[in-house]
């Protein structure tokens, strides 16, 4: 077994453990902290995938943005939830659904025969190429601009929803 595999397995276990704590934790603030933990583990996985830029984005957007928003929402809606009534009565059926979904997906993945090693060497100028592709009319300019318009719409929309009435 290679060192890389051991590291991967450790990180994967931490990540899944944190994710399970997110969905089963009784105190919602703890759920948010576990969520941050699992986001952080995903960032480490990106480092293993030799994509430091994606790891940075993961930290910046997910932890610095989305998780902060979530925590603020939790602090604002304090008292809107009884501490011991998080789960619906259907825990077992939900578990069966998600486990069978996982078994189907894992079986499919193992049947498809994906490559074991990346065939290509690491490109040096990856980041510059990515930046150029995002603003290249032949590349991803249209989705990029659509996303920017969407962000603007969301900004105005959430301001409208969140204002005091």
């Amino acid at each position: 077994m290679f060192a890389g595999q051991v590291v991967f397995l450790i990180i994967a276990c931490l990540m899944l453990g944190a994710a399970v704590r997110v969905v089963t934790s009784r105190r919602i603030f703890h759920a948010a902290l576990w969520l941050i933990g699992s986001f952080f583990c995903v960032a480490v996985i990106y480092m293993l995938l030799e994509s430091p830029f994606m790891a940075g984005i993961q930290l910046f957007i997910y932890i610095g943005g989305i998780a902060v928003l979530t925590v603020i929402a939790i602090m604002v809606t304090k008292g809107g939830m009884h501490p011991d009534s998080h789960t619906l009565g259907n825990g077992w059926s939900a578990a069966i659904v998600s486990i069978s979904l996982f078994i189907v997906m894992a079986w499919t993945i193992t049947q498809l025969g994906f490559p074991n090693e990346p065939g290509m060497p690491v490109a040096e100028e990856g980041l510059a190429l990515l930046g150029a592709a995002l603003v290249d009319p032949g590349g991803y300019l249209v989705p990029f601009e659509v996303v920017s318009v969407m962000l603007m719409v969301v900004l105005i929309g959430s301001l409208y929803l969140g204002r005091e009435r």
Partner: protein, 380 residues
């Protein structure tokens, strides 16, 4: 394999030394800040009056640290124990983690030269609000909670102008690596894009919560903000983390806008780079200390309004202006050397004058409207 092992050990040793470095420097910076503030306020600052603490009471901070270590760690009843203890650890960890990419010298004097160095700094500092939220939430204390709310709204807001200002050196260099940014500064960027440097400095002061942005721990309003309930070494961790953050933003400002380790004779003696960098950082740090000693505290709504109504638009306009000016000069054939810098400086000065003009117009308009509404008050 032995070569790889040696490499790993050397990196680990380097990381350890680099993690120790800010801790050691900060011990003396705390002394220096207290001395400077003391003089500003017509006091002496730390002295050897009671017990001897080295020449000029230089080791006062060490004595304070030993005292704080002997104190009892009190965890309030009803506090969320795990989160309460984890928060101070996270503060110091995040504060030190940034130092992994800071280049103290041309080569070798850096733990790792990430090609996304500048972005790494931003991404790691995005973790900082969480220690405050964790501390504020787990304390079960109203003041702590208010402090955490204030800290988060302030830090998340001021992150935007900070990142916008940081993008400008990146834009001029064409690289996110801090080494490349330093190497590109034949003329320090503060003389090329002074407006960006200005807004980065303001955003950094707000980010580390120094006066006039010291609302998260405003002691006359909410005791000590998010770390009200902490005592002993856990309080010490917050205090230390805060000072390390002050030093870190000073160093990052020096790297981005003052040319980092560049200075005379660095080519011959590489370790001199660390001296130059620390000298520049000390200069910036003392600017922060002077703010600290001289400024009054703003209100939270003033702080947030200043960010969203002035800093963010300023950052956006500055970014667009620099990008357009740079591209225009490139198409005119001036893409190198001091001519490009001079052109960008002119663009910045014009923009700065325009902003001052707009502000004075807006101010006059607001004053006129105020006097119109309340004639008795406005006329006086």
């Amino acid at each position: 394999m032995t070569g790889l092992g040696g490499e790993v050990i050397r990196t680990l040793l380097g990381a350890f030394a680099m993690a120790l470095f800010p801790l050691v420097v900060v011990v003396f910076l705390i002394w220096e800040a207290r001395k400077v503030i003391g003089r500003m306020q017509d006091r002496l600052g730390p002295t050897n009056a009671g017990t001897y603490a080295g020449p000029f009471a230089l080791f006062q901070t060490v004595a304070d640290g030993i005292k704080i270590l002997t104190k009892e760690l009190i965890i309030p009843t009803g506090a969320d124990r795990g989160v309460f203890v984890a928060a101070p650890i996270l503060v110091v960890t995040v504060a030190i983690a940034v130092w992994a990419v800071i280049p103290l010298g041309p080569t070798g004097l850096q733990v790792v030269d990430l090609d996304i160095g500048a972005f790494y700094v931003v991404a790691i500092s995005a973790l900082a609000p969480f220690s405050m939220i964790m501390a504020g939430w787990s304390s079960r204390n109203k003041y702590a909670e208010v402090g955490a709310f204030r800290a988060v709204s302030q830090i998340v807001g001021y992150e935007i102008p900070q990142v916008l200002a940081l993008l400008i050196p990146v834009l001029l260099t064409g690289s996110l690596s801090l080494q490349d940014i330093i190497r590109a500064q034949d003329i320090a960027f503060i003389f090329v894009v002074p407006l960006a440097a200005f807004s980065f400095l303001i955003a950094c002061v707000a980010e580390v919560g120094r006066l006039p942005f010291e609302l998260a721990e405003a002691d006359s309003e909410i005791v000590a903000g998010y770390f009200t309930e902490y005592s002993g070494m856990m309080f010490g961790a917050f205090y230390l983390g805060e000072f390390i953050n002050n030093l870190t933003v000073s160093v990052i400002f020096s790297v981005l806008f003052l040319g980092g380790w560049r200075g005379p004779w660095v080519d011959q003696v590489p370790w001199l780079g660390a001296v130059w960098l620390m000298a520049k950082a000390l200069l910036v740090f003392n600017v922060l200390v002077l703010f600290w000693a001289a400024m009054p505290r703003l209100r939270i709504d003033q702080v947030l309004a200043f960010n969203w109504k002035f800093m963010v638009p300023l950052g956006l306009v500055e970014l667009v202006t620099v990008a357009i000016a740079d591209k225009t000069m490139e198409s005119l054939g001036v893409a190198q050397g001091w001519e490009r810098s001079a052109g960008l400086l002119v663009a910045n000065l014009v923009l700065g004058l325009a902003i001052v003009g707009v502000l004075s117009l807006v101010g006059r308009e607001a004053k006129r409207r105020r006097s119109f509404r309340r004639p008795g008050v406005g006329a006086a």
